[in-house]
């Protein structure tokens, strides 16, 4: 009886609740879709010359603080212009704000120019010659400050501060990790086809601060930056003798890691810098080995008949992606760190070569060969392959530190001229990097420490 009473009370309560809910009906929201198109990305960013407290000479290559402020904005303008996300306007077409306006922008004036975002800042020369730079990002449409940062750099590294400022803007607006403050190693090529000189060279991510590291007496190939940026691993052929060197960038000296009578290929660092992968051909059978980067005994990771070549570590260092022709044609395979669990992942027709694991781990870039050579990406299981380029011969992809852009080298049909190119992961924003001569085998280093 008591139970019955409880049930009746509960039912009455439920009815009361439902009645009171009906008394104040919450209006159902009207639902609609707002669909934009990726092809029309056009966030308008204004980057006026950076202001200065006093126009005084500096020890930088850019001149006085006023001209440095202009050059600074110009470097940021070049960086943001080249990645397809923004529609920037540079300092040549904009008024330079006064120092007091750097932290209190004239929003109304910028809105009148149709600006969405504003990147501005100041440059100040310190007594010891260093340069202090302040960088501010404003949402002009909303009238809010979005981000700010500042750096004091030696005069010779003023461009790094501009790259840091570009990185701040890029990371804040795109959500991706930064990448502008990074360097690129590549093989600079000069001379006629039959006596081609191939030198190791390095440059900033925008092509500035270009420097040759080797003289060209020996042929340099397939460079790779160490994870700590202190050295470059590369392959050298001198009188037909292959050697793997580690070039120390702080001392400009190099250390011989491996010399062999057998052909060597494609040396690569492990993500922790402790191991080196390389391939060696003995009697028509090429296999992948690993050895400590300090030198020591090599361990053979593959032993399939045919050519196993060109390993690249996953960012967690637990797996290796490589190329093998054991199935009859070049395809992409993965294996564990000790060589176990070898498994083919590319099944998209044609051949697949030079795989490189993205530093983010979600993609593998490779050269797809089906007539032409094209740069393509797929996920680590081999699915969702898509092309990024469509030219006659594009090969040897290398990842930007944020895993969202790829560099490769393109050889022109006929002339055979090679150049270093860049493309983003959607296949857009393809552009050629400015190098003094021809270039091949690019290797994008990590973000600078």
């Amino acid at each position: 009886m008591n139970k019955l009473f409880q049930m009746a009370a509960l039912a009455a309560l439920a009815m009361a609740v439902s009645v009171s809910a009906q008394d104040v009906p919450a209006p159902a929201p009207v639902k609609e879709d707002v669909v934009g198109t990726l092809e029309e990305n056009d966030a308008r960013i204004a980057i006026p010359a950076f202001a200065t407290n006093a126009d005084v000479p500096t020890q930088t290559s850019a001149g006085t603080t006023a001209t440095l402020g202009y050059s600074f904005a110009n470097v940021i303008f070049g960086n943001l212009r080249n990645n397809g996300l923004f529609k920037p306007t540079g300092p040549s077409a904009l008024p330079r704000p006064a120092l007091v306006q750097v932290q209190a922008p004239d929003y109304g004036g910028w809105r009148g120019r149709g600006t969405d975002m504003l990147v501005q800042g100041y440059v100040r020369a310190e007594a010891n010659g260093d340069i202090t730079v302040g960088c501010y990002l404003y949402d002009v449409a909303l009238g809010e400050q979005v981000a700010k940062s500042g750096w004091t750099v030696p005069p010779g590294e003023w461009r790094r501060a501009a790259h840091k400022c570009s990185d701040m803007v890029y990371a804040k607006l795109s959500g991706e990790n930064p990448f502008f403050d990074s360097r690129i190693a590549y093989i600079a090529e000069t001379g006629p086809k039959n006596r081609r000189m191939k030198r190791l060279a390095i440059m900033d991510s925008d092509g500035a601060n270009h420097r040759y590291l080797t003289t060209g007496q020996a042929t340099a190939l397939t460079p790779r930056y160490s994870p700590d940026y202190k050295s470059i691993l590369y392959l050298s052929y001198y009188n037909g003798q292959p050697r793997i060197y580690i070039y120390d960038l702080t001392t400009d000296r190099q250390r011989l890691l491996l010399q062999s009578a057998h052909p060597l290929f494609a040396p690569r660092w492990s993500p922790d810098g402790k191991w080196i992968l390389y391939s060696m051909a003995i009697g028509g059978n090429t296999d992948i080995y690993k050895m400590p980067s300090a030198g020591g005994v090599a361990i053979k990771l593959t032993d399939a008949p045919g050519i196993d070549i060109g390993g690249s570590f996953s960012p967690d260092g637990q797996r290796i992606v490589f190329e093998s022709d054991r199935s009859g044609s070049q395809q992409v395979y993965v294996m564990n760190l000790d060589g176990s669990g070898q498994k083919r992942i590319s099944f998209s027709g044609g051949r697949a070569a030079t795989p490189e694991w993205s530093p983010r781990g979600d993609q593998i870039a490779f050269t797809h060969i089906a007539g032409n050579f094209r740069i393509a990406v797929m996920d680590p299981t081999g699915g969702n392959m898509h092309y990024l380029t469509d030219s006659w011969q594009d090969e040897a992809p290398t990842w930007a530190p944020n895993g969202r852009l790829i560099q490769f080298f393109r050889t022109a049909r006929g002339s055979g001229q090679a150049g270093v190119w860049q493309v983003d992961l959607t296949g857009k924003s393809e552009r050629k990097l400015d190098t003094p001569g021809d270039g091949s085998d690019p290797a994008w280093g990590p973000l600078r420490p």
Binding site: A26, V30, E32, D33, V34, V35, T37, G175, L425
Partner: protein
């Protein structure tokens, strides 16, 4: 009792049947499942089945005027519009200049309203006989579904422009969708915006989620206030839910 032995034909038939079953089982076991259908691509659709607040069916009490036959030939000129009244109202005398005396005396001759010649029977021009109605524009007194839809769309249309200028790009970003529910005040300003909800995440578009959300909220803030929305339908536009996405043009 001993079972009768199978004849040769029976044995052969049994063997064939056994083989056939074995083949069927093998086919069923090894047959590959059909390829999954490709995912349906998202398209933008405007659904116009929303009803207006009040019926917009034709007014049953309307009293339509009879149709009349067309008039052919040159239309008669309109009477001159700028003819002032011969005796302006006293209140207007203070502000209006005095009209010319002559115009006050002799208003312009009003031409006959008759048109040009007609090839039709004159009776046709008189229209249907027996109809005494005077309504020339039967009223649709309330907002039609299309009209309601148009002011509802005015919100999403206004949001689209700032959304378009959001710099989102990257792998699988076209798979992302962010749904934002927000409440408007009666003056069209924003009362509140709920935390955006995300769908379509993949390992490759994780980094895009934050700017995607930020951009969607920013687009709503920039588009507000939504002025000109009918106050009498406030309950219909008080709470909105917009789903933002960026697709590749095809």
């Amino acid at each position: 009792m001993k079972a009768p032995a199978l004849t040769r034909e029976e044995g052969l038939g049994l063997a064939l049947a056994g083989l056939g079953h074995a083949a069927l089982v093998w086919v069923l076991v090894t047959a590959r499942p059909p390829e999954p259908l490709p995912p349906v691509e998202r398209v933008s659709v405007t659904i116009s089945d929303e009803l207006g607040a009040v019926s917009t069916s034709p007014n049953p009490l309307s009293d339509p005027a009879p149709d009349k036959g067309p008039e052919l030939g040159e239309p008669a000129p309109e009477p001159e519009a700028a003819v002032p009244p011969p005796h302006p109202a006293p209140a207007a005398v203070k502000t209006l200049p005095k009209p010319p005396q002559q115009a006050a005396k002799t208003p312009a001759k009003t031409p006959s309203p008759k048109g040009g010649a007609s090839v039709l029977d004159p009776n046709y021009g008189k229209g249907i006989t027996g109809s005494s109605g005077k309504d020339k524009t039967p009223p649709a007194s309330k907002a039609s579904p299309q009209v309601v839809q148009s002011w509802q769309n005015s919100i999403s249309l206004k949001v689209r422009s700032p959304w378009q200028r959001c710099p989102v790009s990257g792998l699988d970003v076209e798979k992302l969708a962010v749904t934002v529910t927000f409440t408007l005040r009666e003056d069209g300003g924003i009362a509140s915006i709920d935390e955006p909800r995300v769908s379509g995440q993949t390992p490759s578009n994780q980094a895009q989620i934050r700017p995607f959300k930020d951009c969607a909220v920013r687009a709503i803030k920039l588009a507000a206030p939504f002025v000109g929305l009918p106050a009498e339908f406030y309950d219909q536009w008080r709470v909105r839910e917009l789903t933002f996405s960026k697709g590749k043009t095809r």
